[in-house]
C-alpha cells in the first residue's frame, strides 16, 4: 500500500512537470491555433541557459529567471519571424516549427554538447520531508513541484479570467478579426501570448533540469509528453491540460512499476483511445481540428 502511495505521488509530481510543459503549448494553440512543434526546443533552451547563468551567478533564482526569459525571447522570435507571416496555413506553420526544432536541436548540441546537465537545488528545497500517515520521507523538491504546477495553473486561470489581457486573449480565441476591427492590436497581443508560452516552456525546462536532468533528446521527450497531454485533455484548455497531465503522469509511473516492459506504451494507448472516441480531446471544443 505504501508503494502504491509513493508511486501515486511520483506520478503526480511527474504530472506537475508535464502540466507546466504542456500549459505553454496549449496556451499558444488555444489562442493562435499554432501547433508549435518547437516547444520542446524552447524547454531545452530554457534549461541550458538557466544552467549557464546559475553557474555564473551562483544563484538558482537568477538561472531560473534567465532560462524563462531566454525561452520567452525565442518564442517571440518564432512568432515574429515565421508564424506571423503564414497566419492562414496551419499545416505550414506546423511544418515550419518542425524545421525549426530540427535546426535548434542540432545547434544546441553544437553549443552545449551531448552532456547531461542538472541544476543544483536551492538549499531551501534540498532533502526530504516526512509524510504524515505514511511515515516515509519524500523528496522536498517533488512536493514543491506539485505546488508549483498548481500555482502555474491557478495563475494562468486568474490571468485568463480576471485580467484585461486575459479577456483580450479569450476574445482573440473566439474571433480574431472582430477583435482587430474593434481597434485592438492583435499582432502585439499574439507576441505577448508567445512570450508567455515561451516563458512557461523555459520555466518547465528549469524545473526539469532541477528535478531530473536534461540532455539532447529532452526536447523531443517533453514535446511528445506535451502533445499527448494536450491531445488527451483537449487543445487550448488549461483544465484539460491538467487532467491530461495527471492521466499521463500517473499511467507512466504505474506502468513503470506494475508493468515495466510495456509501461512506456501505456500513455500512447490512452491517447489513441481518447482520440478515437473524442477527436477534440476530453475537454476540447468541437470547433477545432
Amino acid at each position: 500500500m505504501t508503494l502504491f502511495f509513493i508511486v501515486t505521488l511520483n506520478g503526480l509530481s511527474l504530472a506537475a512537470l508535464y502540466f507546466i510543459a504542456a500549459s505553454g503549448f496549449s496556451l499558444v494553440f488555444g489562442v493562435m491555433r499554432v501547433v508549435n512543434m518547437a516547444h520542446g526546443s524552447l524547454i531545452l533552451l530554457g534549461a541550458y541557459v538557466a544552467f549557464d547563468i546559475a553557474e555564473w551567478s551562483g544563484s538558482w533564482v537568477f538561472g531560473a529567471l534567465a532560462g524563462s526569459l531566454a525561452a520567452a525571447l525565442a518564442g517571440v522570435l518564432l512568432q515574429v519571424l515565421f508564424f506571423n507571416r503564414m497566419a492562414g496555413s496551419k499545416d505550414q506553420q506546423t511544418l515550419v516549427s518542425i524545421a525549426v526544432s530540427i535546426i535548434a536541436a542540432d545547434l544546441m548540441i553544437a553549443h552545449w554538447g551531448g552532456l547531461t546537465y542538472q541544476l543544483n537545488l536551492p538549499s531551501l528545497l534540498e532533502g526530504s520531508i516526512g509524510l504524515p500517515l505514511l511515515g516515509v520521507n519524500y523528496a522536498k523538491i517533488r512536493i514543491v513541484l506539485i505546488v508549483a504546477a498548481i500555482a502555474v495553473g491557478v495563475g494562468l486561470w486568474l490571468l485568463m479570467a480576471k485580467t484585461n489581457l486575459g479577456r483580450l486573449i479569450r476574445a482573440g480565441v473566439d474571433d480574431q478579426e472582430m477583435l482587430h476591427a474593434l481597434g485592438f492590436n492583435v499582432k502585439r497581443l499574439f507576441i505577448a501570448v508567445f512570450a508567455l508560452g515561451g516563458a512557461l516552456a523555459g520555466f518547465a525546462g528549469v524545473v526539469a533540469a532541477t528535478a531530473l536532468s536534461v540532455a539532447p533528446g529532452t526536447d523531443v521527450q517533453f514535446l511528445l509528453a506535451a502533445l499527448i497531454v494536450v491531445i488527451v485533455g483537449g487543445m487550448g484548455s488549461i483544465g484539460g491540460a491538467a487532467i491530461g497531465a495527471i492521466l499521463v503522469g500517473l499511467s507512466e509511473q504505474y506502468g513503470l512499476v506494475y508493468a515495466p516492459t510495456y509501461g512506456v506504451v501505456f500513455t500512447f494507448i490512452i491517447m489513441i483511445g481518447v482520440l478515437g472516441l473524442r477527436p477534440q480531446g476530453l475537454f476540447g471544443r468541437g470547433d477545432v481540428g
Binding site: 501547433v35 525549426v100 542540432d106 511528445l224 516492459t261 506504451v265 481540428g289
Partner: protein
C-alpha cells in the same frame, strides 16, 4: 494517366535504366538505390497528403511493419518467425503493411490537419517503443538481422545492379499505380474528401470509410518501400523506423513537393545527395542544421516544394512553356 505523365514516366524510366552505363558502382548502390527506396516511402506520405490532404507521420512505421514481416518470413539471425516461400513472404509483407495502414486509418479517421499529424506521430512512436521492448516477435533493440534479398533462378537480387533494377521496377510500378489511381472513381472520391468532407458525405459517400481505404492503399506503397529498405540494410530494428527517420521522410516529401508523385523522388534525390556530400560543404556533425535549413527555406519560399518551384519557373519563362506545351501537345488559349 495524362499524356504529360506518360512522357514523364517514359523519360524517367529511360534515365534510370541507362544510369548504370554512365555512373560508378558507388553512385548506384549508395545514391541511386537509396533515392528510390526513400522515394517510395516518401511517396506514400506525399500521395496521402496530396489526395486527401492528411499528413501522416506513420508511413515509416508502416514500412517498418512490412520490413519486420518480411524478416519474420525469411531466414534471420534471431531465428524468429517462420520461413516462407518468397512469393508468400513478399505478398504477405505488403498486405501486412496495407492492414497496418487500414488500422492507422481507423484510428485517425475522424482527425484532420494538425490532429492527424499528431495522432500518426504518436502511434508511430508507440509502435517503435513497443518493438524495442518486445523480444518474442521483434527481438527488441537489436531487431532482426541477416535478411538478404532473395535469388530468383540464376539472378541474385542482392547483387548491387540487380538490386538497383529491382528498385527501379518497383519505383516505376508504384508511380504508375498512383498516377492511375488518381483518375479512377476512387481517386476522385479521395480528392473530393480533401476538398469538402461534408459535401462528399451529402453525396452519399462515407468520408471516414474513404479515409480508411486511402490509408490502406498508401500502406501498400509504404510496404513495398519497407521490404526494399530491409533487403538493402539486410536488417530491421527499432532504430530503422525511429522518429529521426520519420522526420527524414517528411522532409523528403515536403522538399520534393506533394503536387505530383514524382516530387517524392526529387525530394529523395536532394536529400541523399546532401547527406552524401554534406561533409564537403559543412561540418559532418551539422548535417541536421543543413537539412533543417533547406527544409525551412523550401516551406517558406515554395509551399509546393521543388516541383512547385519548377512549375512556376516553366510558367514564367515563355520559351520553356512553349517547349513543354509542344512535347505534351497541350493547346493553350491565347
Amino acid at each position: 494517366m495524362s499524356r504529360a505523365d506518360i512522357i514523364l514516366l517514359a523519360s524517367v524510366a529511360l534515365l534510370l535504366f541507362l544510369l548504370p552505363a554512365i555512373s560508378s558502382e558507388f553512385f548506384i548502390s549508395q545514391i541511386a538505390t537509396r533515392v528510390l527506396i526513400l522515394g517510395i516511402i516518401a511517396l506514400s506520405l506525399a500521395f496521402l497528403a496530396q489526395e486527401i490532404g492528411i499528413i501522416s507521420l506513420a508511413q515509416v512505421m508502416i514500412a517498418g511493419i512490412a520490413g519486420y514481416a518480411i524478416a519474420l518470413m525469411s531466414d534471420n539471425s534471431a531465428g524468429l518467425g517462420v520461413e516462407m516461400p518468397l512469393v508468400v513472404a513478399v505478398v504477405g509483407a505488403i498486405l501486412a503493411a496495407g492492414l497496418a495502414g487500414i488500422l492507422m486509418g481507423i484510428i485517425s479517421q475522424r482527425s484532420t490537419g494538425i490532429y492527424a499529424i499528431m495522432i500518426t506521430l504518436a502511434t508511430s512512436v508507440a509502435f517503435t517503443l513497443f518493438a524495442r521492448q518486445n523480444y518474442q516477435i521483434f527481438n527488441g533493440f537489436d531487431g532482426l538481422a541477416g535478411i538478404t534479398a532473395p535469388t530468383l533462378g540464376s539472378i541474385q537480387l542482392s547483387e548491387t545492379y540487380h538490386f538497383y533494377f529491382l528498385c527501379v521496377i518497383s519505383s516505376l510500378a508504384v508511380l504508375m499505380f498512383t498516377l492511375y489511381l488518381r483518375k479512377t472513381p476512387l481517386g476522385l472520391a479521395l480528392q473530393a474528401l480533401r476538398d469538402d468532407r461534408q459535401r462528399l458525405a451529402a453525396l452519399g459517400f462515407r468520408p471516414q470509410r474513404t479515409v480508411v481505404v486511402a490509408f490502406g492503399l498508401v500502406g501498400l506503397i509504404a510496404g513495398v518501400g519497407g521490404i526494399l529498405l530491409t533487403w538493402f540494410n539486410t536488417r530491421i530494428a527499432p532504430t530503422s523506423i525511429g522518429l529521426d527517420v520519420t522526420l527524414d521522410v517528411l522532409i523528403v516529401a515536403i522538399i520534393g513537393g506533394i503536387g505530383h508523385p514524382i516530387g517524392a523522388f526529387i525530394g529523395a534525390l536532394v536529400f541523399v545527395l546532401l547527406e552524401t556530400f554534406a561533409s564537403d560543404l559543412i561540418d559532418r556533425d551539422r548535417f541536421n542544421t543543413l537539412i533543417g535549413a533547406v527544409f525551412l527555406i523550401v516551406i517558406l519560399l515554395s509551399p509546393g516544394g521543388l516541383i512547385g518551384f519548377g512549375r512556376r519557373a516553366v510558367e514564367r519563362i515563355p520559351l520553356l512553356q512553349t517547349i513543354v506545351d509542344f512535347i505534351t501537345r497541350t493547346k493553350r488559349e491565347e
